[in-house]
């Protein structure tokens, strides 16, 4: 029960008054970010990351900083449900499935039940994922301590291949988006040879592209442009929650234990494998509809239809942090931004973190338990306040969000060039979104590009250029084989169907 001891020490770190205050601040900010159009988990954390630079330099400050940022993430996960149910506008992509039954419920006058069910199942999903992280992450980290450069590169390969194979969209677009991310990551000074790459004599490009700028532009500005085109008219159901409704809904919820359990499992799995929260929520909604006794009523506004996607989305969003802290491979764009934060604060994410910075790791894990409890309390008590934010007219909120994005982009390096880059990334993000190029692989490649390249180079340096190094032992060979299987999964699945069809 080593983990329990370590976790208790973590609670000791997380329960300091300052850290508790940061949790509340983070969760509230996160919910606001989740509710606002154009701001979401990934770019919200990216914008606020520069504010933690000075905080992280104080002793114990990195733990406080990660608590603040991860709580923003939990808050954003909660906030997405509010807009989906009340306004039928998913604030986050992973809450799209919540609108299917959440909004009809609200129209029937049962908004309170829908919200309570959403928040409670979010909490349950997150809790299951955190428990899994508590017990699984030391095992994974211990295992990963034996990793050398070839193994690390094959883990990265696995991550990116999983994106291509599992995303279900146009594979060529996923690959193009990902490789653009890698190319942008390569711009600037090459740390191994000291040569300048892809700068074409421009001094502004010397330091390369910062993924924070890309995230703020792609997700922030891009989304504002997209929302604008649809023309915004918020017509929402009223958001009243009282204790009676909460208790009544809680009495109803245990009936859906099977859906909860299944959705948590789907979410945890999809979070670790970089599929992310969005497909997890759809998959679990679909499974629930097929397997539930009330399956035919899904879509007409039933509580179970809210439970399924919310549980899975939160479980996936939370478990996306498991590969981030143990392997240094983020499972979602927001986890990628958090990983970038760790690098900026001078921490090396990966298995050594558990050995060298146990305070940080266990403080973070303990804060996940506490942050979600804080989140549940805050959302249940303050829903009307957050819903009121959406009643601010778009012509005021849109420029304010763009100003916030601009400030966020500027403060990363105190450079106006970055603000221009943000605008360019915004236009690119808008175009890519409309053409259905996935953005998450680009962000992940931008964050991981340098580390992936470094491990690749070290690996083939060790083998004198022989690419068979990625099959040189059972571990790395297994990882590479799994990566290739995932990469060609759609092809293999289609082949299997044809074979079966012939019989």
């Amino acid at each position: 029960m080593e983990e329990i001891n370590a976790l208790m020490q973590g609670f000791g770190v997380a329960l300091s008054p300052f850290n508790l205050l940061l949790m509340f601040a983070g969760v509230i900010l996160g919910i606001v970010i989740g509710v606002l159009p154009g701001l979401g988990g990934a770019n919200g954390v990216a914008i606020l990351l520069p504010l933690t630079f000075s905080m992280a330099q104080q002793p114990g400050g990195t733990t406080s900083a990660i608590i603040l940022l991860s709580c923003i993430y939990w808050g954003a996960l909660f906030g997405g449900a509010i807009t989906s149910i009340l306004f039928n506008i998913p604030g986050e992509p992973w809450s799209v499935a919540t609108t299917f039954d959440g909004h009809p419920l609200a129209q029937k006058g049962r908004a309170g039940s829908a919200l309570t069910a959403a928040f409670t199942s979010s909490f349950v999903g997150a809790l299951v994922a955190v428990i899994m992280i508590t017990f699984l992450s030391p095992v994974v980290a211990g295992f990963a301590l034996r990793f050398g450069p070839p193994e690390f590169f094959s883990v990265y390969l696995l991550t990116f291949c999983a994106f291509v194979g599992m995303s279900g969209g146009n594979a060529a677009k996923t690959i193009a988006s990902m490789m653009i991310g890698f190319a942008l990551a390569a711009v600037g000074l090459d740390s191994v040879t000291g040569t300048l790459r892809l700068t074409f004599g421009s001094t502004a490009l010397l330091k390369g592209f910062d993924f924070l700028i890309a995230v703020i532009g792609l997700f922030g500005i891009g989304e504002i442009l997209e929302t604008l085109e649809e023309g915004l008219a918020f017509k929402g159901a009223s958001a009243r929650i009282n204790i009676k409704v909460v208790l009544e809904t809680w009495k109803e919820l245990p009936r859906y234990w099977a859906t909860s359990l299944r959705s948590s499992a789907v979410g945890c799995f999809m979070g670790i494998v970089p599929g992310g929260a969005t497909p997890a929520s759809f998959m679990s909604y679909g499974l629930a509809r097929r397997l539930s006794r009330d399956g035919k009523d899904f879509g007409s506004g039933i509580v179970e239809g809210v439970v399924a996607p919310e549980t899975a989305a939160h479980a996936a969003g939370t478990s996306a942090l498991l590969p981030m802290i143990t392997l240094g491979v983020p499972g979602s764009p927001t986890a990628a931004v958090l990983l970038g934060g760790l690098l900026i604060w001078g921490l090396q994410p990966g298995p050594l973190l558990f050995v060298e910075k146990p305070d940080f790791v266990w403080g973070l894990i303990a804060s996940m338990y506490l942050g979600n409890i804080v989140g549940l309390i805050v959302v249940l008590t303050c829903v009307p306040l957050f819903a009121a934010i959406l009643r601010i007219p778009f012509s005021i909120i849109a420029p304010v969000i763009i100003v916030i994005c601009a400030i966020g982009a500027y403060t990363v390096h105190n450079s106006m060039f970055d603000v221009w880059l943000m605008v360019i990334f915004g236009v690119v993000g808008y175009g890519f979104k409309k053409l259905r190029y996935p953005l998450a692989p680009m962000v992940l490649a931008l964050v991981l590009g340098d580390r992936a390249e470094e491990n690749f180079r070290n690996a083939i340096k060790g083998s004198q250029g022989d690419l068979l190094v990625f099959f040189s032992n059972a571990l790395v060979g297994g990882l590479t084989a799994l990566a290739l299987t995932l990469l060609f999964w759609p092809v293999l699945a289609a082949g299997w169907r044809i074979l079966r069809g012939r019989r």
Partner: protein, 167 residues
């Protein structure tokens, strides 16, 4: 008969092909510069351009695939990427945003932001000035307090702040 406002400004096929071409050019540029740096095996390991060269190659291959697929799909030509009305809406936001970012260098963050928010409220929200001025100025003052005073993150300032002695 479609009204002129709803007419498509560009078909999905045109944009898809255009974007794929730009992406292809980007990939070619990456390959070109990597080749210049040396994309082969050096004396002590892979050269600086080794990794990016293959990244560029994959960009070119994938964008060529997207290009070819778009050409073969006749449905895309009929599908509208953006209607004239939508494009107009986008430009009414994008152009002021570009002007705004340009003005930051001369006026400072706070003054430029005030003007930007005011323009939005006036142009899109059709608010009277009596509402615009307090909201726009209030937001900027709030940002000033949050960033300069609370978090001590200095943002670029212009002549107005110099005049008020706030630098």
């Amino acid at each position: 008969m479609q009204s002129e406002e709803q007419q498509s400004a560009a078909s999905v096929m045109a944009v898809e092909i255009g974007v794929a071409a730009v992406v292809f050019a980007f990939g070619a540029l990456v390959m070109f510069d990597s080749y210049r740096l040396g994309a082969s095996w050096g004396e002590d390991g892979p050269q600086a351009g080794y990794f990016p060269f293959y990244i560029g190659l994959m960009i070119c291959i994938s964008s060529a695939a997207i290009f070819a697929r778009a050409l073969r799909d006749p449905g895309l030509a009929a599908e509208s990427f953006v209607s004239r009305e939508e494009l107009k809406k986008i430009l009414t936001v994008l152009v002021p945003t570009i002007v705004y970012v340009g003005l930051i260098a001369y006026l400072g963050f706070y003054v430029a932001s005030t003007g930007y928010i005011a323009y939005f409220m006036w142009q899109l929200g059709k608010y009277p000035w009596i509402k615009i001025v307090p909201v726009a100025a209030g937001v900027s003052v709030a940002f000033f307090l949050i960033f300069e005073v609370w978090f001590q993150v200095p943002l670029p300032k212009g002549p107005l702040e110099a005049l008020l002695g706030l630098n």
